[in-house]
Amino acid sequence: MRRTTVLNRQSRRFLPWVMWAWVFGVGLWGGNHPLSAADRSPVEAEVQSKVVKLYGAGGLAGLQGYGTGFIVSPDGHIATIWSHLLDADAVAVVLSNGRRLMGRVVAAEPKLDLALLKIDATGLEHFDLTRSAAGGPGTRVFAFSNMFKVAAGDEPVSMQHGIISARTKLAARRGRFASNYSGPVYVVDAITNNPGAAGGILTDRRGQLLGMLGRELRDAQSQVWVNYVVPAGEITPTLQAMMRGEYTREKVVDPLANAREIPPRTFGLILVPDIVYRTPAYIDEIVPGSVAATAKLQPDDLIVFLNGKVVGSVRTLQAELNLLQPGEDAEFVIRRGSELITVQFPVPLSLDEKQ
């Protein structure tokens, strides 16, 4: 704590300089000035004490067991991204001074990819959500996160610089890197899309909160990773409601459990019983008169691809089926003997009627 205080004092000393530099637009890069306090960002010290390192579930199969969050109340409320990390009963929260506390999930809002944690602490430095900032294309920004778990204990989390490239709407709702969130986002040129970075923060160059770093997200077609940030304004009302206790743990739901289940019967397919972990997706029966029957699919055909995704088992087929949207086409690739057959069906607009 002592160190934090010293840094803050230092930053207060620098602040007038930086304000001056900001007003006159010199903040970009001070160049060769002696005594140019504007060269060093005092923002870092201001922000660090409000960012926490999180350790929770994960550590397997490319899922990191670490992440980032930020303090939004003096009483230990911590906002972060809603992720597998929070599947543990309790999440370890490490404050900037190295204090390690256990946090529990107070509430979560999957549609905003948002979760609120609570630790038993008081008098914490925090972001005042009523005073967050907004930005637009060209706004110079800093990102703070514990990407790659580089920092441990009381070590400060990593800092990056960049600009907001665009303010746009996120439309990335499918595939392995599906995003639950589909609202407005800032797209930034800093590479914030890294393991453990989600739940970190974006600030302006005065250290004011602009938003929360989004999850790792890749466009399936262009293979481009998107560095997006959910603007503070989008999550503030929900966070405030959560802090008031209007959201409860009971509302936490699995997005897949919540989503429509699209059974293979939707297309007239009856698969072999799913008995082992990786039961091959063989067709057992075809419902007469169904689209599958029309397409002349047969028992013992093996489904190997759905919409370009490898189908390794009955379970992966089901997972891929669940991602289908009403009205779009589902393209199946079937192996019959040594032959590969491609068939395409529209996904029924109303999924309930066939069940």
Partner: protein
């Protein structure tokens, strides 16, 4: 047709320029000037067969250039170096540090190379603006370096090694773009001063390119190791001889400690809490590793710990991290579990003139096991021997040496030294060490004063002949906190001596002799020489052992005969 278009572009440009605040333009021109000032010392390194390369930075006018070990690894002793003046120079490897991923090479052909100004990297703070220069993807066909800028994303970072090599301790993390080919190149602060050597990036799903997390070895670490690298050796890193862990209360405690280690002999025990190491408070295991990683083996560092609630401060000499065979690569051990997390060097996309020719500086390289380039060690030992010429001609004094000394409280002491025996008489007590028998701590508690005197005799007669090995090790602060001295190591039988030479003017100021590894040394210091029949010896020897003073011994008379009795 084109002219209206150009005119339009110009107009648009000038309008845009007019709207920019003068402070911004001033900052921009200052930035351009800083980059221009830093650029001449940036080196593009290519291997001699045109297969790949990396970057480097000149730190001395005689051509000393720092780069990464992984850049020169596999290149052989000679390489080509391009500067931003468009010229290509030959270079030869000097010393390598595989653990710290640093190498020192020397560019040839000039004595007025441009050099980078070196800053104190401990003053770097998170959020400082910085810029990296080098040769990413080996794009520089004209050797003009690429500049990328960013902020210092973290300081005092710890990055795990692959096995026990390529460990980045206490390093700087930057968001400036660092890519393959940047390896070994300089990281500058916004004044254009050298603060680090870029060498590593975090990689994950996007392949080996920058993803916003690059790491630079702090220039302070490099400067701690500079003289060790100049010794031409394969330089080792250090261990305390103890492992540390964080306990339930978040304290950093000693988990296990080697009983042979100096720290153990000074009282450090398993379960003790580390408080401070090398002047830094220790609050995490990373911080402990950060301190260990930036100092060469052999350095003495202060350490404060708590033993059963009582706080104690000691000074400990760091042990070598690896066995010699491990460093030289003679050990047939399993490869590390993880591939080395370094930057891979890109392939050379263009032709370098004069490659594959016989190196014109072949005489600057001498291969020897344990060395990157033994030639540079010979230069150093020659310097030390030359500095002792004013002591007189000792080469023929291979017979019996008789010294009469006056010890503490005026106790008389005689020492006789021959090729086979060392004997001493203090008051009425005699001590004899037969040199063909195991070395003992004689007189008891001295750490082996008799053997230390035998080593002085050997050192004066002919170190290369009298010792089984005599080499330059590097430099260290004398006794942990004194001025930087050059350290030479001499081995004979089981005994090891470390000889300390002050710089400018070069002069021997003392030596430590251990009768065998892992024992407390007999430490001898002196300031003045006295003449004994045309040959000089130290006038007064100050003898210490394990941080306690044993006394001062004044040489009153000495004879050094040329024949065996």
């Amino acid at each position: 047709m084109l002219s209206p278009l150009i005119l339009m572009v110009l107009t648009v440009h000038s309008v845009a320029a007019a709207e920019v605040a003068p402070q911004v333009l001033k900052a921009q021109s200052a930035r351009i000037a800083t980059v221009a000032q830093a650029m001449p010392a940036v080196v593009a390194i290519f291997d001699n067969e045109g297969k790949g390369g990396g970057s480097g930075v000149l730190i001395q006018r005689d051509g000393l250039t720092v780069t990464n070990f992984h850049v020169v690894e596999g290149m052989g002793p000679f390489m080509k170096c391009g500067l931003s003046d468009g010229k290509l120079y030959d270079a030869v490897v000097i010393g390598i540090d595989p653990t710290g991923d640093v190498a020192l090479i020397q560019m040839q052909g000039r004595t007025d190379f441009p050099v980078a100004e070196i800053a104190d990297s401990d003053t770097v703070q998170m959020g400082d603006w910085c810029f990296a220069m080098g040769n990413p993807f080996l794009l520089a066909t004209d050797y003009q370096p690429t500049v990328t800028y960013g902020v210092v994303a973290g300081t005092h970072r710890y990055q795990y090694p692959a096995g026990t090599f390529l460990e980045y301790t206490d390093c700087l993390q930057v968001d400036a773009s660092i890519n393959p080919g940047n390896s070994g190149g300089p990281l500058f602060n916004n004044q254009g001063q050298l603060i680090g050597i870029n060498g590593r990036i975090s990689v994950e799903k996007r392949g080996r390119v920058n993803i916003g997390a690059g790491y630079a070895i702090s220039i302070n670490q490099v400067m701690h190791f500079k003289d060790h690298l100049l010794s031409g050796r394969i330089v080792d890193h250090a261990t305390l001889g103890a492992t540390v862990t964080t306990d339930a209360e978040g304290r950093v405690v000693i988990a296990q400690i080697l009983e042979q280690s100096e720290a153990f002999r000074r009282g450090l025990r398993s379960g003790d809490e580390l408080v401070e190491f090398a002047g830094r408070p220790i609050r995490s295991v990373n911080q402990f590793k950060n301190v260990l990683g930036i100092y060469p083996a052999g350095w003495k560092l202060p350490l404060t710990y708590k033993h059963e609630g009582e706080q104690k401060s000691i000074v400990v000499r760091l042990r070598t991290l690896h066995r010699r065979a491990e460093l030289v690569g003679e050990d047939e051990e399993a490869p590390p579990e993880h591939p080395r997390p370094k930057l891979q060097l890109p392939e050379l996309p263009f032709e370098i003139p004069g490659l594959n020719k016989k190196p014109p500086h072949a005489h600057l390289f001498e291969g020897k096991a344990g060395y990157g380039n033994f030639y540079f060690n010979k230069l150093a030992t020659d310097r030390a021997i030359e500095s002792m010429l004013p002591w007189g001609q000792f080469a023929a004094a291979t017979g019996t040496w008789s010294l009469n000394l006056k010890g503490p409280r005026n106790v008389p002491m005689q020492i006789k030294l021959t090729d086979t025996t060392v004997a001493a008489r203090i008051d009425e007590t005699a001590y004899i060490q037969n040199l063909s028998e195991p070395y003992l701590d004689k007189p008891p508690g001295s750490g082996g004063l008799l053997i230390a005197m035998d080593h002085l005799r050997r050192m004066l007669i002919a170190p290369h002949k009298q010792f089984s090995e005599f080499y330059y090790a590097g430099s260290e602060p004398l006794d942990g906190s004194g001025p930087r001295v050059d350290v030479y190591v001499a081995l004979h039988s089981t005994a090891i001596s470390r000889w300390y030479f002050q710089r400018e003017p070069i002069a021997l100021v003392g030596w430590d002799t251990a009768i065998e590894e892992d024992t407390d040394e007999c430490e001898i210091r002196f300031t003045e020489l006295a003449d004994f029949g045309g040959r000089k010896l130290p006038k007064k020897l100050t003898v210490r052992r394990a941080e306690s003073l044993l006394g001062e011994f004044e040489i009153e008379s000495a004879t050094m005969s040329g024949e065996q009795p």
